[in-house]
Symmetry: C2
Subunit: 447 residues, 2 copies
Amino acid sequence: MPTLIVSNQRTEEMVGDLELLDPEYRLYVGNQAQRMAWCLQDGDVLVLPMAVSEDFLRYVTAALGIARDSVEVLVPPTGCFGEGVLSQDRLTDEGFLTALRQAVQSRGVDRVLPFHFDSSVAELTRTLGLDKATPGFGFLDQGGGRLLNSKATFRALAGGTGAPVPPGGVFSARQEAATYLWDRLLSQGQPAILKQDFHVAGFGNEIVSPTPGIDPLGAQRAVVTASRADLDAYLTERWPWLTDGGRNRVVIEQYVPESAPIYAEVRIEEHGVEFTGHGEMRMKPVLNGLIVPAPSAELPAFPGFLDAARRLCWPIHAMGYRGIVSIDAIVTPDRNILINEFNCRTGGSTHIHRIGERVVGDDYFTERVLVELRRCTFPPFPTAVRALVERGLAYDPTTRTGVLITVDDDSPSGGFGEYCVIARDAGQARELEQAVADVLTPLCAKD
Amino acid sequence: MPTLIVSNQRTEEMVGDLELLDPEYRLYVGNQAQRMAWCLQDGDVLVLPMAVSEDFLRYVTAALGIARDSVEVLVPPTGCFGEGVLSQDRLTDEGFLTALRQAVQSRGVDRVLPFHFDSSVAELTRTLGLDKATPGFGFLDQGGGRLLNSKATFRALAGGTGAPVPPGGVFSARQEAATYLWDRLLSQGQPAILKQDFHVAGFGNEIVSPTPGIDPLGAQRAVVTASRADLDAYLTERWPWLTDGGRNRVVIEQYVPESAPIYAEVRIEEHGVEFTGHGEMRMKPVLNGLIVPAPSAELPAFPGFLDAARRLCWPIHAMGYRGIVSIDAIVTPDRNILINEFNCRTGGSTHIHRIGERVVGDDYFTERVLVELRRCTFPPFPTAVRALVERGLAYDPTTRTGVLITVDDDSPSGGFGEYCVIARDAGQARELEQAVADVLTPLCAKD
């Protein structure tokens, strides 16, 4: 059935106060909202925070094998937090709602798929009369999205289902947190990561370490607290930030440096938990983008990770959530796999798996390697597409290899583009990646 | 296996700041902690906040059919919140821990059953090395108790499992709460109940009503807010209290006056959800105590209530909680049944069902009516027991009818006693209740 797709990449329930997000970062995530265009099917309506070019829409729909006219894209007027985020004021704008209602009715849309199902989207869903057929609405309408977005909830469910997680706990009292941190971790030479209950993408995380030299992957920074006094001073200063002014709890875990981030993505459907795929954040040559499937899938610990991820989703299914769950984990230097988060929303990986399923084909996960790159600078979209075609680098449905531009670099400054290399193996992926850089970089000198 | 029973009737995670509880109320719940003596089995160790008389312990163990010496009762030194509550400082007292460790080891105790499994009990469990065999510890150790104690969590799980609940929602913004309250409820002539996310026994609840005359059952008070301006003024004043200074969300539901409170109690075990029983808060002649089984079980809506209660427990089971869940509901004047809360802890009804199972027999739920009365004033315990025996009112294992004193009235002021009438039917229960009053009341003129 046609779906209303709302690409709200950041919400208050994901990150706390949207105002606190850097304006440049808001534009970045607003541009990145294009990723959800890869979820479009016949008849769908897509709401984006920022306009996207017709060229890009034609490119995406052609790759997906649907007619451009079969889908509609709407952008509400800019709101109080700028054009990068679909804040509540934008989703309740009268003119926008009129246009949206018309689009929804004329196309027979009966359900809503947002990036994150927060209370604003729940309200929009009810306003449009789409609550009945939207899977999981009963749960989401009663604050279920916030419940599952809590890192404290993750720790409880991981503890309850026996998932392998880094040693840690959930704390509301600073004193108890300090004792735990010092006695169990820092005094044993182990660094720790402190996580705000509600935040995404590492922006609410900090690391404390008894020794310098920690690369703060998944956190804003690493602070050296070599003594209990250092630690107490750090917590005195940062506890209000960590707890959002005493509002929330703090998740504390052992931090394992030099680990590789991986994920498994599943879909929670009425009948149960369906596996979508897995991937790895690329660490080399730079930390940028995804590799699908995860190269670490060959490790002995990997099947246990997938089992644990599935068990972790049973309570989420039983609660009544329906939709995508991304289970994030790390591969430690000793090749252990520890789960450290789940995200019950459309993920940064979702569109890559959609491209695999719908563009490459059902066997993409076994027959191909997909490498995604983010934060790239492109020449203007038509120039970039033409150059890729001319050099034989564009995705070719016959060989089922080549390059797709997944997010157009629509920013004045450049650097917001994303593309995906589809290759037979890692070696070919590396070659294609280098070839793309060789072709596009010289074309990037914008005026 | 022998169990360490910790009768912590109120915890910070149940009620917020223990300091805010009225000192008289703290003594009341401290005395009431005796209820858990009815859960004792051979070899168990019971931790109470306040000492209990040897006479009472002999009475309870005799009724349960176990030797007094087969169980041990410990009371830690009084802590910072007084003798009524088992605050964290009491459970970490060194001398107490030494005695407790000895008792636990000598009796081969291997698991912990508290009234409420909060983080203090989790810490105690780990300190004593009982974490391995205590069911559900992995979940509880990672803050699962707090998660399930949240009324916002209840609303999400009820929404997700399709449980019949009063119309309502979960709010963090005052403005949205005001709009919902006014547009959906008050302006339609419906009163509403506003619930703090974390609180028990109605102490965190208030009612707002467009009209006077509401009996605030399950809430501290009913406030008349006849206009939107009244409502806004009320919320401006009370929002900080309702949200605990902005820390938590507020659950808002339609309030249905003149409803009867009922509950179903279940046990979440490794293999699934087991039904314990159900009961009703007695409304007449006074609101006091429980009737087991619930007289409303004859209503057409009752089987649907039990089904919904069971469905609501599936996610709780999947999360990894193990233990008692009490699902609270109301029977509305039009004989509908709406669920409005669950409590994942030992309940105020648990000891009554234990008495049924262990004193009366397996068929108690179909063959007997149990009526519990609370806040009674007794003569000294031996006097009361003697008088009941002499008048033929004491519980008789042959007829399986009669009266058990379930909580000794150990307070200087009186009024903390509780007893349970076990009768063949409601008529006999009424007769026994009257006879007990006739016998004990004249003996109550203390000195």
